[in-house]
């Protein structure tokens, strides 16, 4: 992804949901995108699949899948890329599945619309195989979404996502609505299927602990900008950007008790961002240059990028 800019037209003028976001993803790599609400992380995910609906629109930027620029594809060609090459695991909310159709139909209709010619019997077989690979009993195929628990619904979504053996799986807060025990089971299932497919995963979320334990490389977004992206070990041993450092410090840990180091100030409103670096009103190290010009992302150490005037 190079310099992606997504605008939302509101009565108060165009709002930049993502501003010049760039990153690269290796085959089979697990990349995490962490950020708080309004940071633009979900917008970026939907932009990759070109699912941004009005009043949002992709204003600029390129998204390359190996040698294909997704921005240049026709709507029909883009449709065929979805699920076949880039699959989405939706937010853990409870109605990502069609409430009035059985699970097996929701798997098979994806295969049919991607012109997978299989007989009814092969279809049943493929459904059973997919459900088993995500740890679900074959009977689930004939059940309706309201008969499944939260964890089971997410496993069905994973099964759908891997049904066409995609190269990239985008998981947008896949377990945010699940309890911690079920979350672990679902994430372990995702890890297993990813390894079997050798697919790359982009995990989007706000739970830094989940990021620390799952992804290889982690990007942090703030107010629509990618403020830092580095190998996950480096981020947790030596965070570069002040926001990353304060975010990690504010996380409740089991080591020292009673330490509450929140980040002062308020999350910025996207429609009237502070000039220069968007984080400067809350940054303890801000100096005059921070209020004037916006920092550009630079490679501070090999493989670690951050955009901050301090570095």
């Amino acid at each position: 992804m190079r310099d992606l800019v997504v605008h939302y037209d509101t009565p108060l003028g165009a709002v930049k949901a993502t501003d010049a976001v760039s990153f690269s993803l290796g085959a089979g790599e697990r990349l995490g995108i962490a950020g708080e609400s309004g940071s633009g992380k979900t917008t970026m995910a939907l932009a990759i699949l070109r699912l941004i609906k009005p009043p949002g629109r992709i204003a600029a930027g390129e998204i390359w899948l190996q040698d294909v620029d997704l921005m240049a594809l026709s709507p029909e060609a883009m449709r065929q890329v979805r699920l076949a090459r880039i699959a989405l695991i939706p937010q853990g909310s409870m109605n990502s599945l069609n409430p009035v159709t059985r699970i097996k139909e929701q798997i098979l209709d994806a295969l049919r619309d991607h012109d997978v010619r299989i007989s009814r019997r092969q279809g049943q077989e493929r459904v059973r195989e997919l459900l088993e690979s995500v740890g679900l009993r074959p009977e689930v195929a004939d059940m309706f979404p309201h008969e499944l628990s939260g964890g089971m619904k997410q496993r069905v979504c994973i099964a759908i996502a891997i049904s066409l053996r995609p190269r990239v799986i985008i998981a947008d807060e896949p377990t945010s609505a699940l309890d911690v025990v079920v979350q672990k089971q679902v994430m372990e299932t995702l890890a297993k299927v990813q390894q079997d497919l050798r697919a790359a995963v982009i995990l989007i979320g706000h739970d830094m602990g989940l990021m620390a334990q799952f992804v290889d490389r982690l990007g942090v977004m703030y107010a629509g900008k990618l403020v830092e992206i580095s190998p996950v070990r480096d981020i947790f041993t030596g965070p570069l950007h002040p926001y990353t450092r304060m975010l990690i410090a504010s996380l409740p840990s089991f080591e020292e008790k009673g330490t509450f180091r929140g980040i002062p100030g308020l999350l910025p409103l996207l429609r009237d961002l502070p000039p220069g670096c968007a984080f400067h009103p809350r940054c303890p190290h801000a100096f005059d240059r921070c209020q004037r010009d916006e920092p550009r992302p630079r490679e501070i150490q090999p493989g670690s990028w951050a955009s901050c005037h301090l570095l």
Partner: protein, 283 residues
């Protein structure tokens, strides 16, 4: 203030259209009462079957009524039936809706049962049974009461649904924990959010009441000797004005009824827009 009103008007066009239509109607009736001698709406006060002319701008009907006078006198009567029945219906309906949604329990299931069954039964037929039984010289107000007897069903259903959804909201519990009593919560917390819905339901009820009253009158069950719009249509049908080509006789009431229903309809749509505007919050 005017500027804000103008800017809002542009966004909520249907409200404006509704107000303009009803305003025109009010003007027509208001000026009419000043200019026209409404006593001419009684039979034998004008030569029969005259097409529109200088001294009878709307023409006359077979019983010798001046149609302009009939319209000027009749429209407020029909509207009066609509408003009385509408207000009564929404008044009774919203109280029952409130009580059953807020206090739940047996009261709720009884009211819900009556409303659900009541709405499946065709209202007009029940009104016919009532009207037929009382058929001895109905007055306009009796007509309004008959129509009101069923007009409360729909408001009760909509208000109950609204209050049920609001009652579960967190701010009702916070109000209770802040020391507010039950009735206080209804007035201070629920009522303000309910007003736009109530207004839309009221306009709907008035519109439905007018339709029901005209329906009864066309069937001949209305106040026989009053010049309401419905009764005019009854005489149109009774005297087969259509086949005899007396077009002016039915054109006037139809145009006015159209204006009434279109005005009320756009008003409802406008009020719905206020109750739940599509664009809730900017980013």
């Amino acid at each position: 203030m005017a500027h804000a009103a103008w800017r809002y008007a542009r966004r909520n066009l249907s409200l404006v259209v509704g107000i303009v239509l009803l305003g025109l109607l009010a003007l027509f009736v208001g000026i009419g009462h000043l200019v026209v001698d409404t006593s001419k709406s009684r039979p034998l006060s004008a030569p029969a079957i005259r097409p529109p002319s200088a001294d009878h701008p709307f023409g006359t009907d077979r019983q010798g009524r001046d149609l302009l006078a009939t319209m000027v006198a009749g429209t407020p009567l029909t509207l009066r039936i609509g408003f009385i029945a509408g207000f009564l219906g929404v008044g009774v309906g919203s109280i029952l809706g409130f009580v059953s949604a807020y206090y739940r329990g047996a009261v709720d299931s009884v009211i819900r049962g009556i409303v659900d069954i009541g709405l499946t039964v065709p209202g007009l037929l029940v009104l016919i049974i009532i009207a037929v039984s009382l058929r001895k010289g109905l007055t306009v107000d009796q007509m309004a009461l008959i129509v009101a007897s069923l007009a409360w069903l729909n408001p009760a259903r909509t208000v109950r649904a609204q209050v049920l959804s609001m009652r579960e909201r967190g701010y009702v519990e916070v109000a209770r924990l802040s020391g507010m009593s039950g009735p206080e919560i209804i007035v201070k917390e629920l009522m303000p959010n309910l007003l736009p819905y109530l207004a839309a339901t009221l306009v709907n009820a008035v519109s439905a009441a007018i339709l029901a009253s005209i329906g009864l009158e066309v069937l001949g069950l209305g106040p026989i000797d009053s010049p309401t719009l419905g009764m005019t249509l009854y005489w149109v049908n009774f005297n087969a004005a259509l086949i005899n080509g007396w077009w002016w006789w039915w054109l006037a009431p139809i145009v006015i009824i159209l204006v009434v229903f279109l005005g009320l309809f756009f008003l409802t749509v406008g009020l719905d827009e206020i109750a739940n505007p599509r664009l809730r919050r900017a980013i």
